[in-house]
Amino acid sequence: MIDMISLAPLGQADFWLGVGVVAGIYSIFTLGLQLNVGLTGIVNLGQAGFMAIGAYAMAILIVTYHWPPWLALPAATFVAMLAGVVVALPSVRLRGDYLAMTTLAAAEIVQNVAQNAIGLTGGNNGLLGFDAAWQTIQVWMLGVLSAVGLGNEDQIPLFLVVWLTFGIIMLILVALQHTPWGRVLRAIREDEDAAGALGKNAYAYKVQSMALAAGIGAIAGYLLALNVTLIYPGTYSADFTFIGFAILVLGGLGRFAGVALGSILLWFVLEATRFVDLPLAADQVAALRLLIVGLVLILVMVLRPQGIAGKREEMVLRG
């Protein structure tokens, strides 16, 4: 399940580039969680569902309806954001733990649909052939890169695109954080009633926060699709959100840059398990890696709830 980096052993550099790609994709994914959990105080456990909706919408528009990618990408982002609104409208009114369950259930429903609505999603066979345009761009990028002496590794174009995307989204979010809009989100997280008393419609702001996070999740979904070239339900398993949460708490709540730190650290540890020669079958190695994710969550929560780069008071959330 987690073995999305099925690289042939092409050498260490390509291997770690591949790890960097996945770490970058998860950084983008977790930026959405940071916006929801760290900045707004809503525990969104359905982020993987929004990632799936974005990626499936993109692939269906391109493969089934032959939309050009430049139109399919914004359209699919819009679909994911709309799904974010649909999930948020009823659920952000609820208490924190109910919200967590509802969003997780929403993500499970998305996965159920991906598996069962075979006419739309291809079921467990998945969808192929949505990345023709990307292949062209990749070849062009490799040409440019080799002209400047950097063209040896196939993974470099995606690596650059992923981290460039991360940088852009992070800068936008950091900028948003300092706008009146971002300050209201923070106020809602600190004390929703007080924000309401100041005339701010906390409900509307929370819905906007979730929609924006869903859009960011969709973007992570496209990049993950390009990395694995096949979209099937397992690519977007609902519990990937929890890997995002491990990254989130490692990096620290409330710090957008911490997300990159947490993601690189987690994926470095997870991938390093490949170099330890363990007498284990493939499913056991996969289990060991997710066991590490769980241990990271528990240890950070028990020992250093503010994460590596976070401030302690960021963990004091209201139920």
Partner: protein
């Protein structure tokens, strides 16, 4: 000495009184409505398919109820949404599997060992993890994420040891009984349902009639008040985990026996159903969870009369979401309970 004891009894009996009064009449209405729906389905879809779906629903409902009661007890007493509860079921099932297949113990002994081991694990986690975190005044989010991490550790620990291949307990899954004009039920399923229902009745008696049960409900109602009234909260919390863990372990074995196959993921896959059952009955309300579990099992199986069974899981999630939207305090919960 005797005056504090009687004050405590008074506080406890007031709790008891309130619960039985508010839930009793509503439970009757819900029961009547359920029977009405069942009769309607028989009228629309014919006797055999509708009655068979009802029987299947009661089987599934028994698992949901057993799992959900523990989830509700823990939530009620500690306000902890235990995301690892589904994996408690898996843990119990795999302990039974190890006893049953590796050690060749009979299934009944394996079930008892699994129930006890899971109960002890839950209590041990309270001592090693949850109590220290409460002492440090850990926030909601901290506890939630710890529970999610724990779920990962248990599930993947099981997969690390046992692998991901589907496994089976040594039970008879082929023979079946026919009854009431063409309805079928596997003999193992029948045994499972009987065990499940007997245990559920025992739990209901424990909660309503025993001192421990009243103390648990007093804690669920108001922990500080119960403490002031002289209830030994630390002891009751341990007892709550023992009951919740034991029920989860037992439910896991029963699911494994009735369904026939086990994977390390099955408990987590049941978890949202358990949440749905818990919320349907009113979160933190153990009787409600019991009823919610049975209702959810019926709803999922009844849905297969109209749509493809592969959507069964989604039906459970939709019920979860609808309940939260329409009646977040559940069918048996009191409005305004926070």
């Amino acid at each position: 000495m005797s005056s504090t004891a009687s004050a405590e009894d008074a506080a406890l009996s007031s709790v008891n009184h309130e619960v039985s009064l508010s839930t009793g009449s509503r439970a009757l209405v819900i029961g009547a409505a359920t029977i009405a729906v069942a009769l309607l389905l028989v009228a629309v879809k014919g006797y055999q398919p509708a009655a068979q779906a009802t029987v299947n629903g009661l089987v599934t409902g028994t698992f949901f109820a057993l799992g959900a009661v523990g989830l509700a007890l823990v939530y009620g007493v500690l306000r902890l949404v235990n995301f690892a509860h589904g994996d408690f079921l898996t843990f119990g099932a795999y302990i039974a599997l190890a006893c049953n297949t590796l050690l060749s113990l009979p299934i009944i002994i394996a079930t008892v060992i699994a129930t006890v081991t899971t109960a002890l694990m839950a209590a041990l986690l309270e001592l090693l993890l949850w109590r220290p975190m409460r002492t440090r005044r850990a926030g909601h989010l901290q506890l939630l994420l710890t529970a999610i991490g724990l779920a990962y550790v248990i599930r993947n620990g099981i997969q690390l040891v046992a692998g991901a291949d589907p496994r089976s307990l040594r039970v008879n899954v082929t023979s079946a009984v026919s009854f009431l004009g063409g309805l079928r039920l596997g003999t193992t399923e029948l045994a499972v349902v009987l065990v499940g229902l007997v245990v559920l009745v025992l739990v209901a008696i424990l909660l309503s009639a025993s001192r421990l049960g009243r103390e648990m409900r007093a804690l669920a109602d108001n922990l500080n008040l119960a403490e002031v009234a002289g209830v030994n909260t630390g002891r009751v919390i341990i007892a709550t985990w023992l009951v919740a863990g034991g029920l989860a372990g037992l439910a896991g074995v029963l699911v494994g026996a009735a369904v026939g196959v086990l994977t390390p993921n099955f408990g987590f896959e049941l978890l949202l159903g358990l949440f749905a059952a818990t919320i349907l009955g009113g979160i933190g309300n153990a009787y409600g969870a019991l009823a919610g579990g049975l209702l959810l099992g019926l709803a999922e199986e009844w849905s297969t009369l109209f749509i493809d069974p592969s959507w069964k899981l989604a039906v459970g999630f939709v019920i979860l979401i609808l309940t939260l939207l329409i009646r977040p305090n559940g069918l048996l919960g009191r409005p305004g309970l926070k």
